[in-house]
């Protein structure tokens, strides 16, 4: 039995594609067979973030049109065993795929993989319906900004009407300092408003950007906090109980340690 998870947000630029790449890779690192499907047809990005752009021959539209077999279009990632990508088409219109066709592809992939990660385009129109059609579960990505939270709220409502109940929430790009100073929405506030389960928080981390540019998902570099955050999300998807990571920077200097000791924090 495979699980298809759609990664969506409503708003653009909150980190859907980056999250798809990292969560997919992290699940594969846990020994699962994972296929990432880029459904942002016409604006494909997932292959770039994964560094697989130069190996694409066929894409999802070719599969739908019967120009190639599903297995021919899959790009297998050589760094992580069990990880594959079904790329989107770059030069086609997004209306070439109907929700029924995308559901069929997801069902077919379900026979080959344990997890199917569906990277949803921004917006709530046709592309969203195509991405959601075959999904069993959903992860809603948001950032601690009012606009992103508002769009996430809208998307949760739409997921519910598409019969995907209890989506899980990922809060991306948290800046601990700004949250502490009250300049950024805090996690509790967002979770309370959206009223769905939180599955992970990802701190804002510059290495995520540089790694995406290099075509390497951050989870492959175990040294950053964002990497750990994405691995934790993958473990929670697999059913492990992992406590939320602390966003506080561990004090390293002598003074801050002493201050910590005295204040008892």
């Amino acid at each position: 039995m495979s699980t298809a998870i759609v990664i969506t947000s409503g708003k653009g630029g909150v980190g859907k594609t980056t999250s798809s790449a990292n969560i997919g890779t992290a699940l594969a690192l846990q020994g699962k067979k994972v296929c990432m499907v880029d459904l942002d047809i016409g604006l494909r990005n997932l292959d770039i973030v994964m560094g697989l752009e130069n190996r694409i021959v066929f894409d999802i539209v070719d599969v739908v049109n019967g120009e190639c077999e599903l297995s021919q279009a899959l790009v297998h990632d050589k760094r992580v065993p069990g990880l594959a990508l079904l790329p989107a088409a770059q030069h086609r219109d997004k209306f070439v795929i109907t929700p029924e066709q995308s559901k069929q592809i997801v069902d077919n992939l379900g026979e080959l993989f344990d997890f199917i990660i569906l990277d949803c385009p921004a917006g709530i129109e046709h592309g969203f319906r195509v991405a959601v059609a075959g999904a069993h579960q959903a992860l809603v990505i948001t950032t601690p900004e009012n606009a992103a939270v508002r769009d996430a709220d809208r998307v949760i409502g739409m997921l519910e009407s598409a019969n995907i109940m209890s989506p899980k929430l990922v809060i991306n790009r948290i800046r601990p300092k700004m949250v502490r100073s009250g300049d950024m929405l805090d996690i509790d506030e967002i979770v309370q408003l959206l009223g769905i389960d939180l599955i992970g928080i990802v701190p804002d981390d510059e290495t995520v950007i540089s790694n995406a540019n290099k075509g390497e998902p951050t989870v492959l570099k175990p040294d950053s906090k964002a990497s750990l955050a994405y691995r934790n999300i993958a473990r929670r998807i697999l059913g492990d109980t992992v406590p939320l990571m602390s966003l506080e920077d561990e004090p390293t200097g002598l003074w801050s340690r002493m201050r910590r000791l005295i204040s008892g924090r």
Partner: protein
């Protein structure tokens, strides 16, 4: 003949005596079609049988409406006797098509529809109701609840609420956690007051219209606003 059978059938299903609770007391509706013997038997059973306890206690005003039944003087005496045997009954009205009955039927007809919505009203969702609505859940920013009657939110109201959407200025908007983005009552639109850039957030408050605009007050002052809540004046007691 089916045309004549229908009323008798109806009379068989409906008990011969209906008791209604009104603002002032009790209203007895006596069936006009069934046999008089059945009627008086049922009434006696109701007042002195197993359900006797329900009709005891303090003095209560009683109206009796026997519909279009034609009673001879003996029957009137028998029927009156039954009611007079109850010490706490004060007979205020007696006849066919009584005033009490008409008022009761009126209030029943004008009782606004009452809706209950369970769940969260999320951004982009707009719910429209005929009559009053109780939302059990939150109304998130960007969500909208519209009703021709009152809007009550059993949760956090952070979105837009519109009461009296068809023009009723007597309606209110109330919420347990009251921090609306915008309020509309009839055709008046108002924003929540801001303090230091943050919206007002209070608990158990309601908004209503005054002559000079919209006002917000604690829910316990609901009666000060001159607002007449729609209490169900007639409750069904047909099971009696």
């Amino acid at each position: 003949m089916p045309a004549e059978e229908t009323p008798t059938l109806k009379a068989n299903i409906k008990p011969p005596v209906l008791v209604k609770l009104t603002k002032d007391g009790l209203l007895f509706l006596l069936d006009e079609r069934c046999e008089f013997v059945d009627l008086i038997e049922h009434l006696k059973g109701l007042l002195f049988g197993e359900t006797e306890a329900a009709f005891e206690g303090t003095k209560v005003k009683v109206a009796v409406d026997y519909g279009n039944r034609e009673l001879d003087s003996g029957e009137v005496r028998d029927l009156l006797d039954v009611f007079l045997q109850k010490d706490n009954f004060v007979l205020v009205e007696w006849g066919s098509n009584t005033e009490t009955r008409r008022t009761w039927a009126q209030t029943r007809k004008h009782l606004p529809k009452q809706n209950i919505f369970k769940g969260t009203v999320r951004a982009g969702q707009r719910l429209v109701f005929d009559g009053d609505v109780v939302v059990i859940g939150d109304v998130n920013p960007g969500g909208e609840v519209v009703a021709s009657g009152d809007v009550y939110v059993f949760g956090k109201l952070a979105g837009v609420a519109h009461s009296g959407a068809t023009g009723n200025r007597q309606t209110i908007i109330a919420a347990a956690d009251f921090s609306p983005m915008q309020l509309r009552i009839a055709s008046i639109v108002s924003r929540a007051p801001e303090e230091n850039g943050k919206y007002l957030r209070t608990f158990m408050e309601f908004a209503y219209l005054r002559d000079d605009g919209m006002a917000v007050d604690k829910l316990k002052y609901l009666h000060w606003a001159g607002y007449q809540p729609t209490v169900p004046v007639a409750t069904e007691e047909e099971a009696l």
